[in-house]
Symmetry: C2
Subunit: 152 residues, 2 copies
């Protein structure tokens, strides 16, 4: 059901399943990168592995805020199940935004990101329960298309 | 309470309040752009008005998917209350992502966007009820900083 496509819409978009949790006592925000669905639809060069990059922004210099999963082959559904934690107060966290990108390392050793999700933490709960959802990954070519069309 | 800032975190980020609704019978997705908070924190050139640009992506050529509010001064809190609608099936909508950017028109007449939110519609409800939330606007300079640091 998740990847159904109707009405001549785009074929099922790549998605990432995330679990977000804030624990007040530990002052800890955790991001669980659980699965990628439809990863094969991303324009990954042949013979490359992809990985998920997680960034909590804005980022203070003194705190770690950037994490990467291991690399995986772009199969239709990939299980990752990696968890990353950031020490932060709930009020500071609510000013932040989570960016989650699917990237690979190109032949020059540089990071190239293909698609991503951006998740506002303005209304993140402090209940300590993990909120698990699928998020569509927006292909960067769509965003640059819009900018190109409307800047000319 | 919304704009409280603790722990040396960044000062209250700019935010946009959106109401999202999908009505199954009319096959219509509506985005209400309600308010901007802390808009004065965005790096808008003096004497420029800002506006909100709403895009539903990916966008088929045959459908209107890009909308702009009127221009407003960057006061701390701005009421916009403009509503935009897109005809789309619920299953196609669930493959899409909403981008909401705060932009202005520069002296050459080109659109420049300062900050934005990106909202996955993978789990949007078809209940017909409006879901109203505040979303942090991520300043684009943070995103390009990350890319610059980790590409070198």
């Amino acid at each position: 059901d998740l990847l159904t496509c109707e009405d001549g819409g785009p074929s099922g978009s790549a998605k990432v399943r995330l679990g977000l949790k804030y624990e007040t006592e530990e002052r800890c925000f955790t991001v669980a990168v659980m699965q990628i669905a439809n990863g094969g639809s991303l324009p990954l060069p042949t013979d490359q592995n992809m990985y998920v990059r997680v960034v909590v922004l804005p980022c203070l210099e003194t705190t770690r805020c950037l994490f990467r999963t291991r690399g995986v082959s772009p199969w239709e559904t990939v299980d990752l199940n990696e968890v990353f934690g950031v020490q932060v107060s709930h009020s500071a966290l609510r000013q932040k935004t989570l960016r989650v990108d699917v990237c690979y390392t190109n032949k020059l050793g540089k990071e190239e990101c293909l698609a991503g999700a951006q998740i506002s933490l303005a209304e993140i709960s402090s209940s300590g329960e993990r909120s698990t959802k699928w998020y569509n990954l927006l292909n960067y070519t769509y965003v640059s298309d819009i900018d190109a069309k409307h800047r000319e």
